[in-house]
């Protein structure tokens, strides 16, 4: 046994050496924002502070599962981006360390957890996104009501995210709960009807955007940031909002309890919650709505949002019921076809 252990120890040291060829005190991050949104922000942070950001991207469910699994021996310092309901679930697992950045006091109540367990860095409303050619071929107007999506013309042609892995999906389900006055049975009756038109539930929130862009699917429900990105890539898609209202989720950041580089981590949180980062969103064509009141929403984004009825998701209600609601969705909605 001893020889085996020593061999392993030597190998481990050698491999550990391979992994640590970096400058002192970087900050380690799981980002829930896709890389193409997160990378320019981290580069800006590195430029301003000289602190290197090591990051890995996961969808919100995966990231949270990782952080919980690593609780006794945290591998990261900051959880970056992702809808607040994910962070609310994380609070229950006791994985965050409260921290209030200098911007904390200026933020509206909706954009922060009272103890500073998480702070919002952006706002991200959901939208309906449809393929223009599909609408034309089926003589449809862009959907303007939740019930429009139940039209048989959409049968097997909608794609949206799976609630087991995606915060987008959870925000969508809570939107349906809100427009139904939190009447769960009514909301689930709607979701089961919607299921009939869904081709596939994707693992990631933006997973369905490319199929909708390509016409593999006719439409779906996505965060505005993903929908506008699809449009910017050149796919002919239409963004619309339901008249009953649709949910918006704040995107948050949090310090991990037991973080090994807390000082660098706090600097990243200071940066992300302030205009220093949020003023760079528009410049990098990342279409999140800034959370910090000192940063103006970019005019073309404001134009898209004009007239839309946006319902902020109550994170306390969402956090308290998330697990149960998702389980009910998996049991009742997924197999309802």
């Amino acid at each position: 046994m001893r020889i085996g252990h020593r061999l392993v120890a030597i190998a481990a040291l050698w491999l550990a050496g391979l992994g640590t060829a970096q400058a002192a005190d970087p900050v380690n991050v799981y980002t829930i924002w896709p890389e193409n949104y997160a990378r320019p922000m981290f580069q800006e942070f590195e430029k301003q502070t000289g602190i290197k950001v090591n990051f890995l991207r996961f969808s919100s469910g995966e990231a949270l599962a990782r952080v919980i699994a690593e609780k006794n021996n945290p591998r990261i310092d900051v959880l970056f981006g992702g809808p607040v309901e994910t962070f609310a679930a994380g609070i229950k697992e006791g994985i965050f360390e409260p921290y209030k950045s200098p911007s904390f006091a200026k933020l509206p109540v909706r954009f922060k957890q009272a103890d500073g367990q998480w702070t919002a860095i952006a706002d991200d409303p959901l939208v309906f996104m449809t393929n223009a050619a599909f609408l034309k071929a089926n003589n449809l107007k862009p959907p303007a009501s939740w019930d429009d999506l139940l039209n048989p013309a959409y049968k097997n042609m909608l794609q949206m995210a799976d609630a087991r892995t995606s915060g987008t999906a959870v925000t969508r389900i809570f939107s349906v709960l809100e427009v139904n006055g939190r009447d769960e049975d009514k909301a689930f009756a709607y979701l089961k009807k919607l299921r009939q038109n869904v081709q596939v539930y994707t693992k990631s929130g933006g997973g369905g955007t490319l199929p909708v862009g390509l016409g593999q699917a006719g439409g779906g429900i996505f965060f505005i940031v993903d929908a506008l990105e699809t449009k910017a890539k050149g796919y002919d898609v239409v963004v619309s909002f339901p008249k009953e209202g649709i949910g918006s989720s704040a995107e948050a950041i949090a310090l991990i309890k037991g973080a090994k580089n807390p000082e660098a981590a706090k600097k990243l949180i200071d940066f992300a919650t302030s205009p220093a980062m949020q003023s760079k969103l528009a410049e990098n064509k990342v279409n999140f709505v800034p959370a910090n009141p000192e940063v103006q929403t970019e005019p073309s984004l404001a134009e898209v949002l004009k007239g839309a009825k946006i319902i902020p998701i109550d994170d306390e209600y969402a956090g308290a019921n998330r697990k149960r609601i998702v389980e009910r969705w998996v049991k009742e909605v997924l197999p309802a076809q």
Partner: protein
């Protein structure tokens, strides 16, 4: 205890056995035990309640039966397709270079990263697919579900059946068929009563290998199965990553263990023993067999080329997607996706290559050492060692990944986050091919060679180094090849093990796909295929140079497992 005394008298052997058992205990037994503990021990008490709960859940039961249905279909169809290729290659009378073309196309799916077939199927058979909509004019076809998953997995895994069946068919002496022919049997009757029965053990073996491969496959169903056809490996993954439910995920993956273990034992102790066809005399002097009617030959060749063309078409689509701005919307040529993978994707490429480069020699050496001990040395616990060394190979990757994640996160064995855990995962999961190749080779080499060395006074390490090692070099290189290919293409286990400092190309591909960055995903895939082909070609060249008698067989076994 004469066995122990013999071992004790040979220090090199003793050290090797102790070290190997220590490694097996650490990287095979301990993680699996941790997984079992996590699943069945609740607050210090043994309980089966969570298991019963999981089995009572209707969607989990459906996933279990779906997994079996999928594996059976893929096993059957893949074996049929593999037989078509093998029979054509052996009896079709194709010129050599055409056979090479056919081989290259057939092996493409085996050396590719996951998802490649899946992406192409979506683009070909989706609602706006090139084939379903563009060619056939169908609307609203769903590319998700049982059939597309079966198609993708069959195309991905049938080469295993091909590689298993080809040597067996080649070993059937055409003279047998010739004799039956001259006795007045019809061609169909001969095929039915002579050729097929001789190939039956091969069929069973190929079927079980495909069954196991499909059972363990996580990537294809994740993309293609959709929601109406859930299967166990993806359910286990979603249970953990989506519901933060480690216990549930562990239990689901253990449910998968039952059919996986059954198939493995069946293959090994029942079919494995029979899967040999006795060869007598020289087989080089064959004239073309008359056992195949000309029209049948044409039909077989046409069938093979149709399948090969489908595969080539799928990969052409992938290459195309990697070279255009936005697939389907803006088809103008660009190299920007390759620029992305060689700048932003460079860490993943570097990490993957480093891990593959470290794992390759370790895996090759480990395989040869274990194979040698099992085949040549008589020591207590030999069979147990053989069985334990096979465990991680027989288990679906999801189980191994979850077990490693659970076992190696907390001190003192906090290996998650490093490269070692990924390397260990690959070495202990993919070296068994090297072990089997070594055992097979040694069974063909007479023991007396080594005995002569011992009686001349050489110790067991010197005999191993100077006599045995040169003889089993082909198996060593075969082992290297398999570990390298898997290090470049596997995902099911390692998706749980990547970290901030160490990530992998395959995980990046999945990430790109879920982020709708199809271009970089395709570019990464093309890169992996090119690298793997180059390395395999290099290793094959080494094997040819060795001119060892069994080099050819070892080269074939590259991909056989």
């Amino acid at each position: 205890m004469p066995g122990w005394r013999r071992v004790a008298g040979d220090p090199a052997l003793l050290v090797a056995i102790v070290v190997l058992w220590a490694l097996l205990a650490l990287f095979v037994i301990y993680p699996l035990a941790e997984l079992l503990r996590r699943a069945f021990v609740d607050e210090g008490r043994l309980t089966l309640a969570p298991l019963l709960e999981a089995l009572a859940d209707e969607s989990h039961r459906a996933a279990f039966f779906n997994s079996l249905l999928l594996a059976t279909s893929v096993g059957g169809l893949g074996t049929a397709l593999g037989f078509l290729f093998a029979f054509t290659a052996v009896r079709g009378g194709l010129p050599r270079h055409w056979l090479t073309v056919l081989d290259a196309a057939a092996l493409l799916p085996l050396v590719s990263p996951p998802f490649t077939t899946s992406i192409s199927i979506i683009f070909s058979f989706g609602p706006k697919g090139f084939i379903s909509h563009g060619l056939l004019g169908l609307a609203n076809v769903s590319p998700y579900g049982f059939w597309s998953t079966t198609l993708a997995e069959t195309l991905t895994y049938f080469p295993i059946a091909y590689l298993t069946l080809r040597p067996i068919l080649a070993a059937i002496d055409p003279n047998l068929e010739e004799m039956a022919f001259s006795l007045g049997g019809s061609r169909w009757r001969i095929f039915r009563t002579v050729t097929l029965p001789l190939a039956v053990p091969g069929f069973a073996n190929a079927f079980l290998l495909l069954f196991a491969a499909s059972l363990a496959d996580f990537a294809t169903p994740l993309i293609l199965a959709g929601n109406s056809f859930p299967v166990l490996p993806t359910q286990a993954f979603l249970q953990i990553t989506g519901m933060f439910d480690f216990k549930g995920g562990a239990i689901l993956s253990l449910v998968l263990l039952v059919p996986a273990a059954a198939v493995f034992l069946l293959q090994r102790y029942w079919v494995g023993r029979r899967a040999y066809v006795t060869v007598t005399g020289k087989v080089g002097q064959r004239s073309r067999t008359r056992a195949l009617a000309p029209w049948a030959g044409v039909l077989l060749v046409a069938g093979c080329f149709l399948v090969a063309a489908t595969i080539v078409y799928f990969y052409a689509l992938l290459l195309f997607a990697s070279l255009v701005v936005a697939f389907g919307a803006n088809n103008s040529f660009t190299l920007s996706h390759y620029q992305v993978i060689f700048t932003e994707g460079l860490p993943a490429i570097r990490d993957t290559l480093i891990i593959a480069a470290i794992g390759m020699p370790l895996g090759g050496f480990y395989g040869v050492l274990v194979g040698y001990l099992i085949a040549r040395k008589n020591f207590p616990g030999r069979h147990a060692m053989e069985l334990v060394a096979m465990i991680n190979y027989a288990l679906p990757g999801t189980i191994v990944g979850i077990a490693y994640l659970i076992a190696f996160n907390d001190p003192p064995l906090a290996l998650t986050g490093g490269a070692l855990i990924i390397v260990a995962c690959y070495v202990f999961r993919y070296s068994p091919t090297g072990i089997r190749a070594t055992v097979a080779l040694l069974q063909q080499i007479d023991r007396s060679l080594e005995e002569a060395s011992s009686s001349l006074g050489a110790g067991s390490s010197e005999t191993f180094r100077r006599v045995t090692l040169p003889l089993i070099a082909p198996a060593f290189f075969a082992g290297l090849g398999v570990v390298f290919i898997r290090s470049m293409t596997a995902i099911s286990a390692t998706i749980f093990l990547v970290s901030i400092s160490w990530t992998l190309i395959t995980v990046r591909i999945l990430e790109n796909m879920t982020e709708m960055a199809l271009g970089p995903a395709a570019a990464f895939s093309v890169f992996v295929i090119v690298v793997v082909y180059l390395v395999v070609a290099g290793l094959s060249a080494v094997l040819v140079r060795l001119r060892a008698p069994a080099a050819g067989a070892a080269a074939r076994s590259f991909l056989g497992g």
